[in-house]
């Protein structure tokens, strides 16, 4: 088995055993440290030993009994949900328009709208803080939603554009020839078929907002602090074991989202 050639250039599996070992280690490095948090979150000790000497739900109780943590969680999910709605709507519209138009300006527009992905988040955060200060949007749900939406728009646009490229535009044309106006043809023919791409984009928008730290750090104070902001501040000061419990919950949520997105992609 090991002596069989593994490549077209007749390198055997044995000869590149080192490659398999290295890749195994890299995957281990990518996955395991994060997952170790899960068993540790059930430890009874303040120092989160592994494997835990005694198991308990102590840190989960701490989380669910803390009004601050729950409040922050509620804010995060509200913002993520609203961001998902706004970013998916605006991003999908823009992706469709820019895909359909042949104007030269569409390329500049595409670059402009993907800028938030390129500019360092700390700069976006400072800029947004400055913009929100005079209009009182700092530390509000609406402000957070707007800020997170600009981060999510490029991702929605990328996934929707990919979906549009796989869509047969003749279908929209035939619908229009049968009497459907362009918006109606989009709603009844195009949108149902790029649905999976749009939903993938929506999932990304949600998770981007939920995980965002830096902008929240600068603009989400007081009772509008997001979960990630609270976690960051708690971690900077001391390692609060409650965070292990929250992290486990967040990992479970990520796995759920990743699974959903994989299902959507396999159905494309």
């Amino acid at each position: 088995m090991l002596n069989r050639p593994a490549t077209d250039t007749q390198v055997t599996h044995l000869q590149r055993l080192w490659l398999y070992v290295l890749c195994g280690l890299v995957i281990f490095f990518l996955i395991v440290p994060t997952l170790l948090v899960i068993p540790m979150s059930f430890s009874d000790s303040r120092y989160l030993d592994f494997p835990p000497e005694s198991w308990s739900l102590r840190w989960y109780r701490a989380y669910f009994n803390s009004p601050e943590w729950l409040q922050a969680t509620a804010v995060s999910f509200q913002v993520a949900f609203l961001t998902m709605l706004l970013a998916t709507a605006t991003g999908t519209l823009a992706a469709y328009g820019l895909h359909a138009t042949r104007a030269r300006s569409s390329r500049y527009m595409t670059v402009l709208l993907t800028l938030p992905m390129i500019i360092p988040v700390i700069l976006l955060a400072v800029g947004i803080f400055l913009t929100f200060a005079p209009v009182g949007l700092n530390s509000t749900i609406g402000g957070l939603m707007l800020a997170h939406t600009i981060l999510a728009i490029p991702l929605v646009m990328i996934t929707v554009t990919a979906g549009m490229q796989n869509f047969d535009i003749n279908q929209e044309m035939v619908a229009r020839s049968m009497g459907a106006s362009r918006p109606w043809a989009f709603l009844t023919v195009t949108l149902p078929q790029i649905r999976n791409s749009v939903m993938s984009g929506a999932l990304l928008a949600f998770i981007i907002s939920l995980d965002e730290v830096v902008i929240a750090l600068l603009i989400a104070g007081g009772d509008k602090a997001t979960l990630t902001r609270r976690m960051f501040l708690a971690l900077r000061d001391e390692i609060d074991p409650t965070i292990a419990a929250i992290s486990t919950l967040l990992i479970a949520f990520s796995v759920l989202m990743l699974t959903l997105s994989q299902i959507l992609q396999s159905r494309k």
């Binding site: 003749n170 279908q171 044309m173 035939v174 229009r176 020839s177 049968m178 009497g179 109606w184 078929q193």
Partner: protein, 380 residues
């Protein structure tokens, strides 16, 4: 092909339908000086054409000739630089596609995969706010018309290529459009099915009497199906004529060579009379040009090898037989005319006739009425 005629009644037999040839429902199309450029490329170059009420008009040309562009202008998906398109008396060039009332069939059918066959057919009817019961009835009738009765609940994925083609066709006519546009609708089908569908599409057209514009690059398909054919090349209309006239009386070298097989021989014209290597060549109509150098267009099947002098209605030329090839039912003779023009003539095998020896002189005759002479040397 007989089963086409078995189906009863047109799909859109509303009370206002004027029998099998609903010509008053159909509309003529009048196109004037359409021009469309992409940068320096002329997709359409001053195109004008009249399509009659209820006519089956085919736009024939090689790929990139502009035929699809012209169709897309009619449909409203390509906006020309200038020109005019009228459906009947009405200028429609400035109307959006959904207000033109046209049925359209695309090369890849463009059926909606997220809907059933019946929902695909109902789509244009729902847009027109037709009642539910009537939709059901009309969908059923349309399915019967294209011999897909009972398949309404199927998904598109479950259909064969031919069935998809029929659904696309039914969907394009179910809402009684006044004009039907088809963009190479049969090119994705295999040969047998394609030939069968050619008859079905034509039969459907005859039953509905709808003005039809059909795009293809397949000359045989065009000759089989059309009332008239418009040959397009490099964004220009070359000739618009019924299939037979187009074949027998090509007006340009492009039309002559694009449709069927041709030989070209140089003729000299003086005083309105043409001569081929010194021999007079007669035509049944006056020459279109007085240019001295012109070209005789001959089709191989119009030529026959003659023993004696030409008949009164024939032209004749002499050549040297290079070789004869016996092919069972026929004999192909390769004949050299005036040193450097080679012509292959197929003649029927007859046991009572012997083959001329290679090297011997033979006479080739063709009818005066088949004689086509075009100005120029034929190099395009």
């Amino acid at each position: 092909m007989n089963d086409v005629t078995k189906t009863t009644g047109p799909a859109n037999a509303g009370p206002d339908e004027a029998g099998p040839q609903g010509r008053d429902h159909a509309l003529p199309i009048s196109v004037r000086s359409l021009t469309k450029t992409y940068g320096a490329f002329h997709a359409l170059n001053d195109v004008s054409i009249d399509i009659r009420n209820g006519e089956f008009m085919t736009l024939l040309g090689p790929s990139g000739s502009g035929k699809t562009t012209l169709l897309m202008v009619l449909a409203g998906f390509v906006r020309p630089d200038n020109g005019s398109v009228k459906f009947g008396e009405r200028e429609i060039l400035l109307l959006p596609p959904h207000k033109r009332d046209i049925g359209m069939v695309f090369q890849n059918y463009a059926l909606f995969p997220h809907m059933t066959v019946a929902d695909n057919l109902a789509y244009p009817l729902k847009l027109r706010r037709v009642g539910k019961a009537e939709i059901r009835e009309r969908v059923e009738r349309a399915l019967d018309l294209v011999q897909l009765g009972g398949l309404g609940d199927r998904g598109i994925e479950a259909l064969s290529g031919g069935q998809r083609q029929r659904v696309a066709l039914a969907r394009a006519v179910i809402f009684e459009p006044r004009i039907l546009l088809m963009d190479e609708p049969l090119s994705a089908l295999d040969k047998n099915l394609r030939e069968q569908m050619q008859f079905e599409v034509r039969a459907l057209h005859d039953r509905l009497g709808i003005t039809t514009v059909y795009v293809t690059h397949d000359q045989r398909e065009a000759l089989t199906m059309s009332d008239r054919i418009a040959v397009i090349n490099e964004g220009r209309i070359q000739q618009v004529d019924p299939p037979r006239k187009l074949y027998e009386r090509p007006e340009t070298f492009f039309v002559a060579s694009f449709i069927g097989e041709t030989y070209r021989l140089p003729v000299e014209v003086a005083d309105g009379k043409a001569s081929l290597f010194g021999q007079p060549v007669r035509t049944d109509s006056p020459l279109g040009s007085n240019a001295a150098r012109q070209t005789l267009i001959l089709r191989p099947e119009m030529l026959h090898i003659d023993e004696g002098a030409p008949e009164a209605d024939e032209n004749q030329m002499t050549g040297t037989l290079r070789q004869s090839v016996f092919q069972g039912d026929s004999i192909v003779s390769y004949i050299t005319i005036h040193g450097d023009h080679e012509i292959a003539v197929r003649s029927q095998h007859r046991s009572d006739r012997s083959l001329p020896e290679p090297g011997s002189e033979v006479r080739l005759s063709w009818l005066v009425q088949d004689t086509v002479i075009l100005p120029g040397d034929g190099r395009t």
